[in-house]
Amino acid sequence: MSPDRRQFLGWGAAAAVTAAGAALAPGLRLIELAQARSPEEAASALQRWGLLIDITKCTDCDVCVTACSKENGWTGHGRPETDPQWIRKVSLRDKRTGYAQTLPLMCQHCEHPPCVDVCPTGASFRRDDGIVLVDKHTCIGCRYCVMACPYGARSFVHETVSGQKSDVPRGKGTVESCTLCVHRVDRGETPACVEACNRDGGKAMVFGDLNDPSAEIHRRLRAEPSTQVRADLALNTGVRYRGL
């Protein structure tokens, strides 16, 4: 089936679902859109996964970083310049007033990702549901995407990797970054950082479908002010910050 046709059918299904939902009651649906897909179902453009990070609640902890490292199996070799980091805590201090803030920074899962534009082989790609990934099977390790990323979100695997997680293949000579825990999202779970933040951290992170009006993230973004990092580039990031 051609992508267009599939997408069209998808829209049709969505229209049917929304119509059914509207028929019952506002906000009540027969089928929950944010539900996990079945394994044979492809990711669809009906969804746009995103994060809202409320940095007024973000404290000095780094449980999101440790959770990500544990979930995805990226660990350092004690060489900070070349060790990978999928997510990092960034400290900000206002130059004039000294007002200090801290926030987690990772791949922002842009709608128009510069890394995808520059990748010569198309290894860097954006999945239909908005998750930006590296297809390591076709990555030749040119690092042009690292040059293009406005957020310094990507790491180049500088040395041989062993002991990978079965859900998170990683290997020397390719580029990697936050996958929004795509393997968990496909199972209907939230990313590891969000889970950890809400369990052990400041409860600063919300994960959800930016297209789904009933999702908490949508509700919050509707009601509260939020910003995108480097909004001037108009990349329409999937990760939004509150309190920046």
Binding site: E81, Q85, V90, S91, R93, V118, I140, G152, F156
Partner: protein
């Protein structure tokens, strides 16, 4: 019009084999360095997650830029009809191919997964400037090969002009592509300028001609061929104009940035506080690679001064690319205006970089590969005229 007579170089002297041996050793060292880097991973180099393109890229881009520029000599002969340059056209075409081969070899051997190069041919992202370049480079090979054929084969001579014109246009697009690799990076303040494409073109004129002058002088000197002042003085003036134009573009690039408030910090970094990058900019790029060659080219008429000026242009060019490629990455990306930024991932600070020996060996290996290919080609096919003495080229030019 007198015909130009071309002749292969003898290529059986002890000196020739010593040259090939030395270049071969450098090529082997480059291959060894590449194997070492690929085997261990890039952590053994000076490159990091912040400086992902290092010394190999400086050399590779220099060679690729010079490759397109060195073809200029041939273009001047066939596109702009200057007969004086005609005897030089074959060498010009040859160097274009060999320098590009050297540059691409370095680029490919530095990839994270060089064994997957075939993927770059089978999977193609049409929006990627890199992908355009793969097409532009392979096309350049084919076009220059045909162009050389129209020079060598008498029956093809009639097609020399259209082939030359096509090659000239192609090489302009090619260098535009190389410059745009950086020019289109909107997220990095030191790049992100449409000016980079034309600047790379004029840089290619300058670097390419400097290499051409040196190779021509060496080849004529070592094979005992006459090389008259008429040719050399023409090349001298041309190189002077190119060097001055490069300086002009560099000045405009920085002046534009100085005018834009958003770019003030970038300029402060490159022109004033950038440590090694500032030093390289002023002392090597501008003084050694710009001012000094101009003085040498226009102040004297000696051959040594011309050769010295060409060497200076090459050094300055390497420094210019070092400042642009590595300095441009070392400068922290602006994500949070008006904030001091810090993290474990070196946000908000100037990234450190020290070129490692393997990187240097790989880069120099690429240069050696280009020169070795040139030397062998000169022996196999008649690229060089038998004489470039004043009387011979004058009559050819008449």
């Amino acid at each position: 019009m007198a015909r130009v007579h071309y002749r292969e170089i003898e290529g059986d002297s002890r000196g020739f084999y010593a040259l090939l041996g030395a270049l071969g050793a450098l090529i082997l060292a480059g291959l060894g360095a590449s194997w070492y880097m690929e085997h261990n991973g890039h952590y053994v180099t000076g490159m990091s997650n912040r400086i992902v393109w290092g010394m190999p890229h400086v050399f590779a881009i220099f060679l690729i830029v010079a490759a397109s520029g060195v073809l200029n000599v041939a273009s001047i002969a066939s596109v702009f009809g200057r007969e004086l340059y005609k005897p030089l056209a074959r060498l010009s075409g040859l160097l274009a191919l060999t320098l590009l081969a050297g540059g691409l070899a370095v680029l490919v051997l530095d990839l994270g997964r060089p064994e997957r190069l075939i993927v770059a041919m089978t999977h193609y992202n049409v929006k990627s400037i890199f992908a355009w370049n793969i097409f532009l480079y392979t096309g350049f090979y084919a076009i220059v090969a045909v162009y050389l054929w129209t020079m060598f084969e008498r029956r093809m001579n009639d097609y020399n002009k259209p082939a030359g014109l096509f090659a000239f246009v192609w090489r302009l697009i090619l260098t535009t592509g190389t410059g745009s690799i950086f020019g289109f990076l909107v997220a990095r303040e030191p790049y992100s300028s449409a000016l980079l494409a034309p600047m790379f073109i004029i840089m290619s004129f300058s670097f390419g001609l400097a290499i051409f002058v040196l190779v021509l002088m060496a080849a004529c000197n070592w094979t005992g061929r006459a090389l008259g002042d008429v040719v050399l003085n023409r090349l001298r003036n041309l190189l002077g104009v190119f060097v001055a134009t490069v300086l002009y573009f560099v000045a405009i690039h920085h002046l534009t940035n100085l005018y834009v408030a958003r770019q003030h910090d970038v300029e402060r970094f490159f022109l004033w506080e950038g440590g090694i990058y500032t030093a390289l900019f002023w002392f090597v790029q501008v003084l050694t690679g710009g001012v000094l060659p101009l003085a040498l080219l226009f102040g004297t008429t000696s051959r040594r001064a011309l050769a010295a000026a060409a060497v200076c242009v090459i050094l300055g060019g390497l420094a210019q690319l070092y400042v642009l490629v590595i300095g441009g990455q070392a400068y922290p990306q602006l994500m949070f205006p008006e904030k001091e930024v810090s993290s474990s991932f070196f946000d908000g600070v100037v990234a450190g970089y020290a070129p490692s020996l393997p990187e240097l060996a790989l880069g120099v290996g690429g240069v050696a590969l280009a020169l070795a290919l040139t030397a062998v080609a000169l022996k196999v096919l008649p690229f060089l005229p038998r004489s470039l003495a004043d009387g011979d080229v004058d009559s050819a030019a008449a």
